[in-house]
């Protein structure tokens, strides 16, 4: 498999930062009560994660191992501050909707985790792909959960009213926590059945080949 395709699939599905690694839980619980806020946060994470991975990968040979974490934090904080300035200037609605969670991206463990686990060991294009893939995985997870929470908690979808029925619990972090847990369970179940099916097919194929090989050997002996 092409290595970029593998990095992409790992980030989006097999090592999804929200459902598999369970990273970035703070903004997840805080923002998924609204689909729009969840998606906006996801898009911000894509930008920051990709840029931070690129920067850290490009500087990996310059930064001494002893001070790598402070250096990463400074670089990530700079990018987040820049993003806040840009959003406040050009997208003030999103800036105010994300509130304090925007500044908290600095300490988001997905960003620091990918910098430490991937970006400082790989080339710039690979690190960029990893940042992009993990950001997309995070955005998809948050948006899906945001849609469920908003529909159940507010009876609306991306701010458009669907019906008057709503369950107030799902507009609160407690409801978000329940949806988060159920989503992880569902994702794990689906992944298990998909990878389980693939494993079963592989085993059946191996058994068939072994049988054919045995038959071949038996025919030769006969």
């Amino acid at each position: 498999m092409n290595k970029y395709k593998k990095i992409f699939l790992d980030g989006v599905i097999f090592s999804n930062p929200t459902f598999v690694l369970v990273l970035g839980t703070c903004p997840t619980l805080g923002l998924i009560s609204s689909a729009m806020s969840a998606m906006s946060m996801g898009l911000c994470i894509i930008v920051i994660l990709t840029l931070s991975n690129v920067l850290i990968s490009a500087m990996r040979k310059v930064i001494p191992n002893e001070v790598r974490i402070p250096c990463y934090i400074v670089l990530i904080a700079t990018l987040v501050t820049l993003l806040r300035m840009v959003l406040e200037k050009f997208l003030p609605d999103i800036y105010s909707a994300l509130g304090g969670f925007l500044a908290l991206i600095v300490v988001n463990c997905i960003i620091l985790g990918r910098a430490e686990a991937f970006a400082n060991k790989h080339t710039v294009p690979e690190a960029a792909m990893d940042g992009l893939a993990n950001g997309i995985g995070f955005t998809l997870a948050l948006t899906c959960m945001g849609i469920v929470c908003e529909v159940l908690g507010s009876g609306s979808l991306f701010g458009a009213k669907l019906w008057d029925f709503s369950i107030a619990l799902f507009a609160q972090p407690a409801g978000s926590f329940i949806i988060f847990g159920l989503s992880i369970a569902l994702f794990t179940k689906v992944m298990d059945s998909v990878t389980g099916n693939a494993r079963s097919k592989r085993q059946a194929e191996e058994a068939r080949r072994a049988l054919e090989a045995r038959r071949g050997t038996a025919a030769k002996e006969a």
Partner: protein
Amino acid sequence: MSAKSFFQSTAFKCIVVLLSIVLLCSVFLTICNALFYVSDDERLNRALSELYDGESVTTELAPGADALGNGEEVGRAVILAARTVTSDNHAGDWLIQVKGLDGYNGGTVTCWVVIETQENAVAGVGAVSISSNEGQSYIGRITQDFLNGFSENFTGEDYPDGMVSSGASYSSTAIRNAVNGALDYVGNALEESGEAEHE
């Protein structure tokens, strides 16, 4: 440790790299700050556009507003700026920039509030728009319906404690304080100007 060995050590390299990164980032952010700075005029225009649905509205400093300085505390709010609308179709409206206190974790919410006046008395709340906040993580949960409620539920009295937005009760308390502060400020200003005219 000799000076030479210090300059060749890993510790020195760490300090140099870290300081260089900090310095470069600082310079970069300084340039970005100059590029993306949002001026007070721009904030005012954004607020006017939101409060009057994109309608072109002109304003001027309200009487006595130049004395506000760093703000004047009214109840649980701080009045930051006061302007009066000069456009014919909205003449008599007061535009108040006010910081509401007692938000989540002691934070604040700064709002623009339009106060409608008639015959030297407060006639209602025209509109409320959030300008900025300090430490209000759930400010995104304040709905437009909640903000519209200030216009719809005006009774001439202060808004009661029960007026809160679900999921962001502390932030909505700060907004309610801001609107009450704006109402009190304009009421007092109109009273003073009425007395002055009377004399």
